[in-house]
């Protein structure tokens, strides 16, 4: 091993992780634009900055991020619903993935709200692509998007009377016994 190599090796961990630095920059921007109290549960699973906010603020936040000139979150990558039945009062959620194509920064924003009142503002006025994504979330989780131009089912049949991705509906018929696995408890 040459002296240069041994000298270079300890330096590597000291150099700041570019992803961490980038996420810190986005978080600072979020705090500056919308206030620190707006965001809870800030973490970076696998390098993707994830924040949780409330449904009252989600539309303003995403509109603000879209218009921000520093980091332009012009691209709504995807959004999806989620259901945590054990979280009282916050059973349903929406998860948004935003992407800034100019800076190559991704951001994940989550909101949670009660299943008894699953109403969320629409993003169709900001992104055209939100239209079908919201219809999908409505179809599978029964999340109502206020202001959506055409909130009807998209993948399931129109006369379905429940929202099948909620956890209360098992994949298989619970009354079947031929599939019970006594040894592995499934």
């Amino acid at each position: 091993m040459s002296p240069q190599e041994s000298a270079a090796a300890p330096e590597a961990p000291v150099a700041e992780d570019p992803i961490k630095a980038q996420n810190a920059k986005v978080l600072a921007l979020l705090h500056r634009l919308f206030g620190e109290a707006t965001f809870t549960d800030v973490h970076e699973p696998h390098g993707l900055l994830t924040v949780t906010t409330t449904r009252e603020k989600i539309h303003d936040i995403i509109a603000g991020l879209q218009q921000d000139q520093e980091i332009k979150f012009h691209f709504l990558t995807t959004m999806c619903g989620i259901n945590y039945p054990e979280n009282e009062g916050q059973e349903l959620g929406m998860i948004y993935h935003l992407h800034s194509l100019t800076q190559n920064i991704r951001l994940r924003i989550k909101i949670f709200f009660p299943i008894a009142d699953p109403v969320v503002p629409t993003l169709t006025d900001l992104y055209n692509t939100a239209n079908w994504m919201e219809r999908e979330a409505y179809d599978f989780f029964g999340i109502i998007f206020t202001g959506h131009p055409n909130l009807i089912r998209i993948l399931n049949v129109e006369d379905m009377d429940y929202h099948p991705m909620r956890r209360e509906y098992p994949v298989e018929d619970g009354t079947r016994e031929d599939k019970t696995d006594l040894f592995f408890g499934r």
Partner: protein, 420 residues
């Protein structure tokens, strides 16, 4: 008199149907007062290459409005995935975009590897790159040759389908299957590239460029073809971004977004290749971008094959990677791991991960939330087709029916990916 009867009858049917399903968008029936005709395109129509319906209102030859209906082959993959161990979900992914299933399979494996923190050896990464680029070529060949068929040129389709068949033979050597490949495993590939596979790959790399040149020479500057596709179904870059376009369709509109370059995965940063972009975002640009991407994919495959590193073809991750059969028969640890993996007894770590790959049609994303069990708590697929197909009515309105078919064909909407 007869027309009046029909008109009244029509309105009555329309009102009754609307009353039954309040607030829902109804298919528009013939409106004779405005001289509009309703045309039901699909659900099964030979020119739409998949099961999706469009209810079009026509003013003579022109399309006035279109209402797409999708979901005809919806198979609830996201719900099914909540009950399946990770290795069983692979078979769901290759039924999404079945024209380029290896990309879906390997993208899914990479997502799980990211969650588990498994690093795949270089050789496996390079083999994956080769297979994914072959899949991209097969995908683009289908799209572009079918576009030719829809404009009335059947010959090119037959020429390149021969080559697609050879790609499928290479798949067969690598994973044993052709269409729904179930290729690779979490942690690497299930086997190394065999000498036969390498030979087939090398032979194909020699023979394919000539066929591709011939295909291009038949279409690219063909007057009849250009008249059919130039300025048909254009979309601006702003509109395309707002509609969530990715992949060749977005690049044809002039945005150079490619996941392979923006967020390199599986050692794509090692390769030299160009990202072709168009200017108008019309059908012709989409065709040209796909053709050029085929050439760039060939470049990547050649580089990967020339620099294929030695070493293992899978990671040393016994908890997740199935041991070989001879090992299982004579080695106790291997038998235990085999049993635990197959029975789904191995819990994944808690966490959430979003991973995206450049699929045949654009950014194919997997959003996986694990609560520590044997199956995902929630798995969401970002299917590029589903997201950009909603722009279709806007692109088709104002064109003729024959142009609408060509636009649909050039967008490469794959029903399996659309409906998941």
């Amino acid at each position: 008199m007869a027309v009046n009867d029909t008109l009244e009858g029509t309105h009555k049917i329309q009102e009754e149907a609307a009353a039954q399903r309040p607030g829902q968008l109804m298919p528009i029936l013939n409106d004779f007062s405005q001289e509009l005709t309703t045309l039901n395109l699909g659900p099964t129509h030979p020119a739409t290459h998949g099961i999706f319906q469009n209810i079009l209102q026509m003013d003579g030859e022109r399309i006035v409005s279109g209402v797409p209906t999708i979901g005809y082959i919806h198979r609830a993959f996201e719900k099914l995935a909540e009950r399946k161990p990770f290795y069983q979900i692979t078979t769901l992914t290759d039924r999404m975009n079945y024209c380029s299933s290896p990309i879906n399979n390997l993208g899914w494996h990479m997502t799980v590897e990211k969650l588990l923190g498994v690093t795949v050896p270089k050789r496996a990464q390079y083999i994956r790159v080769i297979m994914m680029e072959l899949a991209r070529i097969a995908d683009h060949l289908i799209c572009n040759s079918i576009l030719g068929v829809d404009t009335g040129a059947f010959t090119g389709f037959l020429y390149v389908f021969q080559e697609r068949e050879k790609i499928y033979e290479i798949y067969e050597e690598v994973c044993g299957a052709r269409l729904t490949t179930n290729m690779g495993r979490v942690g690497g590939m299930e086997r190394d590239l065999s000498p036969v596979a390498l030979q087939k790959l090398r032979d194909w790399l020699k023979s394919f460029p000539a066929v591709m040149k011939e295909f291009e020479s038949m279409f690219t500057r063909n007057r009849i073809f250009m008249d059919r596709v130039v300025n048909v179904g254009p979309i601006s870059a702003e509109k395309a971004l707002s509609y969530g376009f990715t992949g060749p369709n977005l690049r044809a509109a002039g945005v150079d977004y490619d996941v392979r370059v923006m967020n390199p995965y599986s050692s794509y940063e090692d390769f030299e290749f160009d990202i072709p972009v168009g200017t108008n975002g019309d059908t012709y640009d989409r065709f040209l971008v796909r053709n050029e991407e085929i050439w760039q994919s060939l470049r990547i495959i050649n580089q990967a094959l020339d620099n294929l590193p030695d070493g293992p073809y899978h990671a040393d991750a016994p908890h997740y990677y199935l041991p070989t059969k001879p090992e299982v028969y004579k080695n106790m640890e291997a038998l235990i791991y085999h049993f635990k993996i197959v029975m789904g007894e191995i819990d994944a770590p808690v966490g959430e991960v979003y991973h995206s790959v450049e699929g045949g049609n654009g950014e194919l994303g997997f959003y996986l939330i694990s609560d520590g069990g044997r199956t995902p708590y929630r798995l969401h697929f970002r299917r590029p087709c589903f997201i950009y197909y909603q722009a279709y009515p806007e692109m088709a309105v104002g064109t003729t029916l024959s142009d609408a078919i060509v636009i649909l064909s050039s967008m490469n909407v794959i029903a399996g990916e659309l409906d998941a």
